[in-house]
Symmetry: C2
Subunit: 116 residues, 2 copies
């Protein structure tokens, strides 16, 4: 596979299935490309809250705004240039703040299923 | 494993083994933690050049400065907030520019061997 460069303007943002909050993901490298990880950008509206059980290992690099994640035992808040790492099986609450947020993410394995 | 937050100030930067250029890596989550990916920050001095064959899949998010990567067929340059993805087996030339660079990286699998 060749090298790739991705910018946030390359991403086509979609609301994740089954969610109605203003949190969007845009994959740029995923199961369709044959590698082991999914890479993309995330966009969060202001003051959004998402509770989920992590289906994959997810590393987020915060590019704009702030994200707070709690797993019930520990709460972390990260801003631009900082990383939040969540592990498969973690039950987390992910929250954006008043200015929303933009993130880059890398998941292992892929979080989307191959298309039928 | 609990959730983690990492900042560049958490990283202990080390020159990669066998290299004498001013390119440093600081792992913050790796083979010692039991997960599938290594997470860390990279720091590049000005105008450094590194040629290597990728031993792992490496996703870099550029936080400061610019990085140019060439695989002989394609050359990409990325700046703050942009991503460069390199695949295991790619033969790449990685170059920093006049102001150096800071990156966040996620590799799959781990790029370091477990300590003996």
């Amino acid at each position: 596979m060749p090298i790739h460069k991705f910018a946030v303007t390359d991403a086509v943002f979609e609301r994740s299935p089954g969610q109605d909050v203003d949190i969007f993901a845009g994959n740029l490298l995923d199961q369709r490309d044959g590698g082991p990880v999914t890479i993309g950008f995330g966009r969060y509206g202001p003051d959004q809250i998402l509770e989920e059980t992590m289906a994959v290992h997810d590393t987020m690099v915060i590019l704009e705004g702030k994200i707070t994640v709690s797993d019930g035992r520990k709460t972390v808040t990260a801003g631009p240039g900082e990383i939040i790492a969540m592990q498969k099986g973690d039950r987390v609450t992910i929250r954006s703040h008043e200015n929303g947020a933009v993130t880059a993410y890398v998941t292992y394995p892929h979080w989307q299923q191959p298309e039928a």
